[in-house]
Symmetry: C2
């Protein structure tokens, strides 16, 4: 079983993922990544994944068969496992707990080569619905405190499979970065009685320097203090703390703007590896006045090096005003 | 001039490094890294670097000439610049300051191909003295609050030059990660009246599971909650909050143990890219009971992906007990 261990100095948790276990010697023999070849996520190979937990596009009475348009399966090499009770224990001054959680793979499309920027509105909106459906379902499990949805695209961004997919990890704790984000947003709210994200949207509209694109309900900006070139945040304009509170019309709006954002990214930097992360309020929290859900997109064009590791401080060679202008000026057909 | 910008939510600063400026289009045309070819750090090319600030091994009256055994020069493409006064200002809800600081390159050896694990004791001890000399000198500049010494080795770890070198950045603020480390260590001290790092060393000696190597004065361990496989910390056994407090004998001991550690790493994973970072107390602070300087070594064998970006939470496929055993069992000649 995987194990969660707490850094005794910073209090940050790490997952020692025994199920994904690499013995030290595995790093000596470099892994060969096979491009092409067998794909466990392609239609026809459904039996090679763990049994699905959700599928769209075909009758529910034929699980793990073909005909689906989107499919969600447990990760075959999970960072956390779903069976068991949560056990917290000490080891001298150290703290650990067993790695209870869920780790799922959202297979975004049956077409092996279809990336997000190539998708139709109908295909992409299914993905956003699937995020919601899985969050609602896993939110019923009282052992979990947070669900992080994310996507790794391209080998340099950590993707080990080519076929377009997202992932989701349900965690027994609210992770450090989200905790800090919530704490800081609350501090801002206590001082100003306004949501800091709403204030950011307001200022971005006034300054009009870092907006990439927008529609009625959503806006994509390059943030003022980005960790890397082309970092982008997609935010709902109306205050909303949780992704799962979105209504039907907002799903359509989000799909439109996200698709436009990803098309701009793909035209600007063809095939660039990227990560995106859905930041939303912890599960089973009521609507929060001070927190605002959003998606952070991090194209992978620079590297984390010693300075960033040591300081937690990023050196970014490209001002966000230039990144935003470059993205904004892309002509979409 | 570079600019420091504060993330309005997390309060973390980033450096928008205009001097290292990459226009968005620069990312479209992939940089070609030339292996071999002209090296600005090699003897004979001293005139191609900014004028040196320190050199060992040759008379001081012939700066920027040949004959040196170690040389320190300002970075030609600095993330921060040394001239100017510190200006803090707001931009609506955002905060920024101009990028005042120092960014130096420590050329560790005149021999282009000599990596740390190949160095003699005499060569490596010079490097540790150079870190100290530069920290003491820059510590006299009242605009600076922190000096981070770090090394990027190998392209995948962010090194843009092959020739063995470290770097140093003097900052006008204490960076986030160091602040957190100090705050957390203080909290532990207030509760236990002991240094958390001293307690870690004690427990590691008792458990004897994660020690890589040690001598009288220093110990190398794989930490209990490592962010990645083979992460190692080199720590003085005697409590000491600042690197610059070390005495002559300790410099020799550190050199011995660090050399052994790097040889083990190189034998275990030949040529593996890595970063290391020197964590020490902020400049001009008196000796602290609760903080303990150390060097963190991060071999680059895994990747930061969406989950880590989103949560600040690392997934590590290799328990530190296994990493330590693997390193410990390497036979050195």
């Amino acid at each position: 079983m995987p194990e969660l261990r707490k850094d005794p100095i910073l209090g940050q948790w790490v997952i020692i993922a025994r199920e994904r276990r690499k013995r030290p010697y595995d790093f000596v023999i470099k892994e060969e990544k096979t491009k092409g070849g067998f794909c466990p996520l392609c239609p026809g190979n459904e039996h090679t994944t763990p049994p699905e937990v959700l599928a769209y596009g075909r009758p529910a009475y034929s699980p793990d068969g073909p005909g689906w348009t989107l499919r969600v399966v447990p990760n075959k090499f999970p960072a956390l496992v779903i069976e068991g009770d949560l056990n917290k224990e000490g080891e001298g001054i150290y703290d650990k707990m067993n790695g209870i959680g869920a780790h799922e793979v959202i297979i975004e499309t049956p077409r092996h080569d279809e990336t997000i920027s190539m998708m139709s509105h109908d295909q992409l909106i299914q993905l956003f619905w699937a995020y919601r459906d899985r969050m609602v379902d896993l939110g019923n499990d009282s052992r979990f405190r947070y669900i992080m949805v994310f996507k790794n695209f391209g080998q340099a961004a950590g993707a080990s499979l080519e076929h377009s997919h997202s992932q989701l990890i349900a965690l027994p704790i609210v992770p450090y970065r989200i905790q800090e984000e919530i704490k800081s947003s609350l501090r801002y709210f206590e001082y100003k009685e306004r949501c800091v994200f709403c204030d950011i949207i307001h200022q971005e509209k006034v300054q009009n320097l870092r907006i990439v694109c927008e529609n009625n309900d959503f806006i994509t900006i390059c943030p003022f203090a980005p960790r890397a070139p082309f970092e982008m945040w997609v935010m709902p304009k109306r205050h909303q703390s949780s992704y799962v509170s979105m209504g039907d019309a907002e799903f359509h709006s989000l799909t439109d703007l996200f698709l436009e954002t990803m098309k701009r990214l793909d035209r600007a930097l063809p095939g660039v590896p990227y990560n995106y992360m859905l930041h939303t309020a912890p599960i089973r929290t009521p609507s929060l006045e001070y927190y605002h859900w959003h998606i952070e997109i991090m194209p992978k064009v620079t590297m984390i090096a010693g300075f960033e590791w040591g300081t937690g401080f990023y050196i970014n060679p490209t001002p966000p005003e230039e990144s935003a202008e470059f993205m904004r000026d892309i002509v979409l057909d």
